[in-house]
Structure formats: C-alpha cells, structure tokens
C-alpha cells in the first residue's frame, strides 16, 4: 500500500522494472520512477496529481487517461533546442534524466495568475470574442489580439533548429494489423502462422493493449503474460514485423498507411546518427484495425479536477504501473466496466469509498458501497480532488471523500482510421457508441473493441477471423486457430452523458468546453455538429476530441430533440495522434532539402575559387573572382570584356539536351517548333521557338541536325524536364505512329561555350586535325560530330549566346573535367577567361537574347519580336491559338532595349514603364523591364523589357518607375541588340 511517509503511491505487482530506478524532474523537482513507467504513472506514483492547466480558464488539471487520448496532462519535455512542447505525459516513456515542465501557467503551476479567467468565465462563453473587440477597429492588431495571442497557445517552441534527425522508410506487406491488443495479436498470430507477410504496429512500447491494464486471464495465463508470449512468437517469425512505439497515423489511398515509429524518444540521448523518428509508408494488400477503444467520461459539475479520470485509466495505473492515484478512490459509472475498477483496486488494497452507478439495476460485487441509480453532481478540492457530491436515487445528496474518481461513461471504438477517407461511423445502440461504417478505406476491416466487440474472447476470435478473411481475399489460406478461453462478458450499458445541474460540467477539458457552451451554441443556431465544433472549439484541442466529441454531440442531440446518429459526427482526419512535423520532413531539410546537381567542371571551378549560385537544382559558377577584386561587378566586367576582346569559356552543361531520332524526326520537330525544321540541312543548327498549345512561348533553343534522322535539341536549363515531357506527350499521345524516339542526354554530355574572337584559335588546338573548323568549312550555325584531343568523340556547334564568334563543344560527361582543363591550357596564350552566370547574363542582355525573365509564361512570339517565326503553313503546337485576338493586338508589348538618359542611372529590372506626361498609375502602365545589367562594353547600365507597341517607339524617352524601392529614371527606348546589331562578329 502507499507509503505515507514519502507520498509514494506504489502498489505491489505491475509491469514495471523495479530494478531500474529512474530519476526525473518535473517543474524542477527531483522525482523517481521505474523502468516501464510513463511520465504520468511516475508522477502519480509520486503523489503528483496536478500536471497542467486548461487552455482557456487555466483550471488545474491532472491526468484523465492512461493513453494517447490524454487532454490534460500535457507537458514540455526535455530542454533547450530539444524542447518538445505539448507532450502527453501518458505516452511519454520515463527515462533516467527526463526533464519535464508544466505549460501555459504563470508564475507557477500551483498558482496561475491567468486562472482569473475562470472567475470571468461567464463573460468568456463560447464564441464571446466574435461579439466584441470590434471598436475601435485599429485596436485589434495593437491591443486585443496581442493579449489574446499571448494568453493562447499551450507550450512554447524553443525557436531553435530541431537538432534531431528524422528518416523515412517504405514497407510492404500482405496484411497490416493496427494495434497489438488481444484482437491484433490474435490476428497477427493467425496471419503469421499462415506464412503471409505481416506487419503489426502498436503505439505502445509494450504489446498487449488492454491486456496489460487488466487482471483478465487468457487461457491459463494472465492476459499480459499471454500477450508477451504471443509477441515473442511473432518476433521470432521472419515473415512478421512487430513494430512497437509505432502509431499508424493515417489511411491513405489504395492500401497505403502512414506510420510513425518513435525510435529514440524513450532514450535520454539518441545514439549518433540514429533518427529520432521514422515516417513509414506502409503498402498493404489488406489491413485490420485492432486499435481498441477509448473510455469516455461523464460530464458533471466540476468534473475536471485532478484526480478525476477514466475508470479504465485508474485501473490501468493500478494494474500495469502499480500506482494508486490516491489512497481513497470512488467510481462513477453507467456500465459494468466501472465495477472492474472497483474490484481491481479493492483487490490491491486501495480503499474504494463508493461505486456510483447511474443504473437502477447496478450490480453489487461487494467491493464497495454501490449507489444504484445515483450520480455525481459536484466535486471539491482546489488543486486535486478531495470529495464528490453524490445524488442518490431517492434525491438525497451527500459528500463522499475520495482523492481519485474513476469515471466510465462507456467505451468508444477507435473508428478513426475507418473514417480517414470520408467514411462515416454508424451508431450501435447496444453499446451506445459509434462503430466502423460499411464504407471505409478499401481493404480495411476491423476487429475487437475497435469494431465494437468489447469482450476479450470476442477480441481474440474476432482478430483471428478477420485475419483469415482478409488473407482469403488475396488468395492466402490461413487457418483459424482455436483461441484460448477468456472473459466474454456482455456489454451492459445505459447511455448517460451528463449530469444535469447548475455548475459547469466539462466536455472538452483541454479547451474548456462545457455543457453550457453546447446549450448556448444551440440557442444561437450553431446546431450542426460542424458549427458546434467551430463555435465552441469542442474537439479542436490536441486530443482532437477523443474523450469529448461523442458526449458533446450527445448533449446537442438531447437539446435539439434528435438522436445521436441524426446529429452525426464531425470528420475524422489524419493524423490519429499529433505527429512531429520533423518526421514528415525526414532528411529533406537544411542543405539536403533538395538534391544538388553539379556541373562537370564543378571541381575545377571550385579550385578556381568560383562563387556558385543555385539554378534550379544545379549549382553553377556565378563568377570567378580574382586576386584584388573586391566587388562582384569587377569580376563580371572583367569576364565580359575578356570574352568580347579575346576568348572566354563557360560550362553550359545544364541546358537541356534531347536526342531526337527516327525517320520522322524532322516531321516531329516541325510540329514541336513553331518555325520550320523539316528542311534544316544535315550539319546545320537552327534556333527554334517552341509554343505551348495556348500559343504562349514555352521554350527556345538551338537544334542541330547531325544526320538525316538525328537531331540534337537544346532547351533552357529551367525547362529541360518540362520540354522533354511535352515532347513525349506529343510523341505518344498526339502522333503515336510517327517514327521518332527521344531521349534526354543532358547528363550524358558535358558542354562548354567557347566564345570570343579567339575562340576558333583555341579550339583549333584541341580539335583533331582531320576536322576543318575554319569559317568556310564550319560557318555560323554549323554543327558536327568530331574528335578532340586525339580521338575523343565530341560534338561541335557553332552557336552563340554571347554574340561573339562562338562555339559550344560537348564531350561525354566523364571527360568534362579534362576538357575544361585542356581548354584552359590551350587558351592560355589568349588569356582565356572562364566566365560565370553573371557575365553570361550581361552578354545575352547586350545582345537582346530572351531568357527566363522574358520567357515568363505569358509572352508570345510577337512579344519577343519573333512573331514572324510562327509558320502559318504547317501544323505546329500552339500556332492556332496564338492567333487569338488578345495575343495579336496592334498595341502588343514588344521586346525592346532601354538605355538610361543619364548614364549614371541604373536600369532596374521589374520597373514599370510610363509615358512622361501620363499620371503614374496602373491605368497608364506601358510595360515593364525584364532584365537589366551594367554593360562594360557600353559603359552604361542597360535593360531589355516589354513596351506597348515597342517596335515603333525607338528613340522615345519614357519613365522607368520603381516605386517599391523609391527610384525612377528616364530611359531611352532603343534596339535590344546593344552590341553588334548586324551580327558580324558571330559570323566572323
């Protein structure tokens, strides 16, 4: 019996390991528990009943349950960056050194100043905030809301990066069994012995479910012993995976379940590299829900004091954890199950002061005084229960002393997962509870208490039968074994939801929703169960109403004169219990959020000290700073000038490369591009413009014809994947009989642009002598397959993004690093300069080439000044819809260039264009600047962009407005081709 001297409430027996003494702290106080304890059981064992405060009224709260449904005993676990707010003490396994703190109280748990809300509760009824705080309007953000926000919330995040790591995994099975209580274990044993691939998952660290909490025998063994034996057998089967500490959180489409395994939460520190939790995606052919049931409280005045708990929880603490919540206990029940608590506790020597049973025909097992037809009407005890007020069948009232009260209003099957796909549970009058409906996730059945079969015998048999049936559906024969004998008591319950009376009777203990609030909601016509929930916040707390929803809607049914099934339930949504966001994120966080793609010259560029920039998944060299350069512009200007004066080299591997082959390859490309490709000669490259079917530009690039039946297309870096998908669509869905095959070779070829007047001279040094790349033999837009460096196969394209004499040379990717080093060597005499994304961008703006900023998904060929490229004499994707009125307007936005009137003014991309005499507002918007750069060649800032009717406005001075940064400049409309407008250099 309890140790009065130390306040320890330990009983004999239980499933705890008394050899493992564990020290822990709660609110700074050092306490001791045993292996196998939860934080809640250890606190109760130490005589701690007060564990938290409620959300709204800050009422003192103790533990209500012994499981995942806990609404009250919510604490912050661990410290610093490891702080884990809102942790249920009932499921937190005790470990040595555990530190826990109560939440949402100030200055202390025992004295909480915010409890003043409780005194004000008449003013703070359901939805009161919708009716006030409206005047003056400005006060909301400044006064009212900060006060409300400060008062609201439960625990606090540390604000620091989560130091743990998480993982994800994938599992496949014939049969997933959710819950390892008697039904689940029987199902798993049946299925396991059949040879089927079985996964059985339970949120607890100890398989057995209620068998661990009861004194029920299974066959010759105690229930817990039987569970342990079965678990051991399952663990020994190679075809069975028994997963403890694993919550199946959601039922998704086609037999896929999400489950979270808490791998290290029960350890003081996680071993290095071990994930704290693993999110499993379980692919099952069939599944059985054996998730048991949750006992529901009965609402009565002041039914929320620490010490008042589920009768089954009181029993679980005594039987499993050898803890008496108090030295004197009472029971309040409307069904036979409550009497079990009295029997079990009495057998353990705990004094049971009374059994209050709402039923007139209550049984009497002689464990304590039975008050039949009676109810509890009130309670007392400031920070913990000291006595209850009881109204007897004859109407007389009296106070009964007790430090704990076990309440049983019946049990609700855990139907949640059967409803995750919008199925609705059905009401079963015999047990006064909802049971799984006929329409649930495909392949999911239920057994045991989850299906409304509450006896141990029914759970065992039901689990075995469900396994046989489920496996039978997928062609696996399993034998229904004879199950050991166990209690098979019928359910005897008379529905009883709340005790009528004047005081506040709690339904949702965490959110402080009382019977009165439900009445008010009804009075104000928030009668639909969804309105009720949203107006009163019933069931919206961290427990999602697991112990409150059904009682709440029963009260609503009673007031509205409806039946409970007529009122219906709210929608059950995943996850079954709150789940760490980190677990869903897995390893995809920080630098490993998304994969990194490196170019073939990345290593070399790193050696040169390149600054890299994210381009989609790629990392590309942005510029190559050299000694003495203190600002990025110095590097970029140098790279541009060196390229234009002599020669530069840039890794352009990231551009998409698509190999197109087949007898109909030319026909195919002719339809993919809006301009003609059918007549492109072999050995030539052409710029192609690709439209979406809606006539908007999708992408552009050059495509080279390497042979009669072979083309190599390039796409922009950003659209490489989308263009390829689009072409596969066209090939397979639109023209399935065209003889054409495509494959992405982006990763197969390392490609470098070699640009500048000396580029040919550099290349001549590495291209094998058999290949003539003189201007005559290999003119602008030529292409060919060649060899370099003494026999290495390569592709050479004479194309230019920079506007200079330029080539792109490609070699198999594994030679990319070698090639860049050879090119640098060969180019040394010409001061060859590597250039990065910035210089590339400057040079393309100087040439007026469109890129991502211009190809923004809303621009047409007309906008780009390429309207005439859209052939009207052939079928190509997008040509028809590109002719729509809105896309062919006379005053269309046309791409032009801009130079600042004052050369010192920077042109800013994103500026809007206005006529000088017009008012500056959206109605007079003339267009916008898409890209801007400082041109070291022109020694001026320049820009390109879209201007209404731009083609006819060269020489006009207009305003480039950038009010968001408070700047405005005058710009002259010019040709977008700032450098070498006639294109002489690239043909040189």
């Amino acid at each position: 019996m309890s140790d009065a001297m130390t306040g320890l409430n330990r009983l004999d027996g239980g499933l705890i390991d008394r050899s493992a003494e564990l020290n822990f702290r709660f609110d700074g106080k050092s306490l001791e528990g045993y292996g196998g304890d939860t934080l809640a059981s250890a606190l109760l064992a130490n005589g701690v009943r007060l564990m938290g405060r409620s959300f709204k009224y800050h009422r003192p709260r103790g533990v209500l349950s012994a499981g995942a449904e806990e609404p009250n005993a919510i604490v912050a676990l661990r410290e610093g960056a490891f702080t884990e707010p809102n942790t249920r003490a009932t499921t937190a396994e005790l470990f040595d050194g555990l530190v826990a703190r109560s939440q949402n109280r100030w200055p202390s748990l025992a004295f909480d100043a915010m409890a003043v809300n409780d005194i004000m509760s008449d003013f703070l009824t359901a939805g009161f905030y919708y009716k006030t705080f409206m005047w003056p309007a400005k006060f909301w953000e400044k006064i009212y809301e900060p006060i409300i926000r400060h008062a609201a919330g439960l625990g606090a995040l540390s604000g620091m990066s989560d130091p743990d790591c998480y993982d994800k995994g994938f599992l496949h099975c014939d049969l997933l069994i959710i819950g390892a209580g008697p039904a689940g274990l029987a199902a798993a044993l049946t299925a396991g012995r059949s040879g089927a691939r079985v996964i059985i998952a339970d949120e607890d660290f100890l398989p057995g479910g209620r068998l661990n909490a009861e004194t029920i025998a299974v066959g010759d063994a105690a229930g817990a012993e039987w569970a342990a034996q079965v678990a051991a057998e399952l663990a020994s089967m190679p075809n069975v995976r028994l997963m403890t500490r694993t919550t199946v959180i959601g039922a998704f489409d086609h037999g896929i379940y999400g489950a979270v395994e808490r791998v290290t939460d029960h350890l003081a520190t996680a071993p290095d590299g071990t994930a704290r939790q693993v999110l499993w995606r379980i692919y099952s052919k069939r599944s059985i829900l054996c998730a048991g049931s949750i006992e529901r409280p009965i609402a009565f005045a002041n039914n929320d004091r620490p010490g008042i708990m589920q009768a089954g929880a009181l029993r679980a603490y005594a039987n499993r954890w050898a803890v008496a919540a108090a030295s004197e206990v009472a029971v309040f029940t409307n069904n036979d199950d409550g009497h079990r608590t009295a029997s079990d506790l009495a057998a353990k020597g705990v004094k049971v002061t009374a059994i209050i049973d709402t039923r007139a025909d209550a049984p009497d097992h002689g464990d304590a005084e039975v008050l039949a037809g009676a109810c509890v009407t009130d309670s007392r005890g400031r920070l913990g229960l000291s006595k209850i007020k009881v109204r007897s069948a004859d109407g007389s009232q009296r106070w009964i002393k007790c430090g704990a009260l076990g309440v049983s209003g019946g049990w609700n099957p855990n139907v949640h997962l059967t409803c995750h796909q919008r199925g609705r549970p059905v009401w079963n009058e015999a047990i006064a509870a909802f049971v799984p409906g006929a329409v649930g996730p495909v392949g999911l059945s239920s057994a045991g208490a989850a299906s409304g079969m509450f006896s141990t015998a029914a759970a065992l048999t039901g689990g075995a039968v469900a396994a046989v049936n489920a496996l039978g559906e997928i062609g696996i024969k399993a034998k229904a074994m004879a199950m050991p004998e166990a209690e098979d008591a019928p359910v005897s319950i008379t529905a009883f939801w709340h005790v009528t009376g004047k005081g506040r009777a709690w339904l949702d203990q965490q959110n402080d929703v009382t019977v009165k609030d439900v009445k008010l909601a009804h009075q104000e016509n928030f009668q639909s169960v969804e309105h009720l929930k949203r107006y009163t916040t019933l069931g919206m707390a961290t427990d999602q109403g697991k112990t409150s929803n059904i009682a709440g809607l029963a009260v609503m049914a009673e007031i509205a004169g409806k039946t409970i099934p007529e009122v219906g339930t709210t929608i059950y949504r995943p996850p079954y219990t709150p789940t760490a966001i980190g677990a869903f994120g897995g390893r995809s966080r920080d630098e490993t959020f998304r994969p990194v793609r490196l170019t073939p010259s990345h290593k070399w560029a790193s050696e040169q000290g390149a600054v890299f920039v994210e381009v989609g998944m790629w990392m590309r060299a942005q510029w190559f700073p050299q000694a003495g350069e203190t600002e990025w512009r110095q590097s970029v200007d140098r790279e541009v000038l060196a390229t234009r004066r002599s020669v530069g080299v840039c890794d352009v591997t990231t551009l998409g490369k698509i190999d197109v082959q087949g007898a109909d390859a030319a026909t195919f490309l002719n339809r993919i591009y809006c301009n003609g490709f059918a007549k492109l000669p072999v050995g030539k490259t052409r710029y192609g413009l690709m439209l979406r079917e809606d006539g908007i530009v999708m992408d552009d690039g050059t495509t080279a014809r390497l042979g009669e039946t072979q083309f190599v297309m390039t796409t922009t870096t950003a659209n490489a994947v989308g263009v390829f998908r689009h072409m596969e669509f066209a090939r397979q869905c639109l023209w399935p009989d065209l003889d054409v095959q495509i494959i992405s070779t982006t990763e197969a070829w390392a490609q470098f642009a070699v640009a500048g007047p000396n580029s040919r001279k550099v290349l001549e040094k590495i291209v094998d002598p058999a290949f003539d790349i003189s201007n005559d033999a290999f003119p602008f837009m030529a292409c060919g397959e060649i060899t370099v460096c003494g026999g290495l196969r390569a592709r050479l394209f004479r194309i230019s993004f920079s506007g200079e004499l330029a080539y792109e040379i490609a070699v198999p990717t594994r030679y990319g690093d070698a090639l860049i080093r050879r090119l640098m060597e060969a180019g040394e005499e010409f001061d060859i300069t590597p250039y990065g994304m910035e210089a590339l961008g400057v040079m393309r703006i100087e040439k007026g080439h469109a890129a991502g900023n211009e190809l923004n998904g809303t621009t047409t060929a007309l906008n780009l000044g390429l309207g005439r490229m859209v052939s009207k004499t052939k079928d190509s994707i997008g040509s028809i819809l590109s002719e729509r009125e809105g896309l062919t307007r006379d005053d269309a936005l046309i791409q032009v260039g801009f130079k600042p009137v004052d050369p010192n003014d920077p042109v800013v991309a994103g500026s809007h264009l206005m006529n000088i005499d017009d008012p500056a507002n959206a109605a007079h918007d003339q267009g916008y600047i898409t890209s801007a750069a400082y041109s070291p060649c022109l020694e001026s800032s320049i820009g390109i962009g879209f201007l209404e009717n731009g083609a006819t406005r060269k020489g006009e001075i207009i305003r480039a407005m950038n009010p968001v940064e408070g700047s405005e400049i005058m710009v002259e409309v010019v040709s977008a081709h700032f450098v070498d407008p006639e294109g002489e250099r690239l043909r040189a």
């Binding site: 489409d253 796909q421 079917e693 639109l734 399935p736 079928d875 028809i880 819809l881």
Partner: protein
C-alpha cells in the same frame, strides 16, 4: 495512390506527373474550318466529372510512358490503366 502500370506493375503515384483529362489526346485538325473554336474547346473546357475520369499520367520517374488512367475522382479508385499510345491509336490518331 498506386497506379498499376501496364508494363511495370504497381507503382507509387509519386513516380508520375499528372496532366489532366485524357481528352487532351483528341487534338483538333489544324486545317478544320472551325479550328479556332475547336482548339479553344480542346485546350480550355473540361467535363470535370465527379466520378469516373479518364486522365493522363506520365511516368516521369520511370519508363516515360504516358498512361491513360481511369480513376474515380470521388473515391480515387482506379479501374483501368492503359498506355496512352494505345488509347490514342484506338481513337484514330496516327502520324
């Protein structure tokens, strides 16, 4: 979701990229007298049924097949999966 690829068996839908209504196979004839109207309807109007829906999925992280999946938009039940190329041919598309 799981899509039973006709060539590769059951695959997680995460391997696929979704496009939309399989009617996108039925691209109109560019030389039709009413091509403008037909292309508008083809490109923009949808039956958007609450129930059985034939739709295009692309096995982007797989074998690059376009599939026509018959799926119920209310229950997500998939009742048929075909190669889009076969469907396109059956609908009279060729070169």
């Amino acid at each position: 979701m799981i899509i039973h690829h006709p060539l590769l068996g059951p695959r997680d839908s995460a391997e696929f990229t979704y496009l939309g209504d399989a009617n996108l196979i039925d691209r109109p004839d560019w030389q039709d007298k009413k091509a403008a109207d037909k292309f508008y309807e083809y490109q923009y109007l949808r039956n958007n049924p609450a129930g059985e829906h034939q739709e295009l999925w692309y096995h982007e992280a797989g074998d690059r097949s376009w599939l026509v999946v018959t799926r119920n938009t209310v229950t997500h039940e998939i009742t048929k999966v075909e190669l889009a190329r076969d469907v396109a041919r059956a609908r009279g598309r060729s070169k």
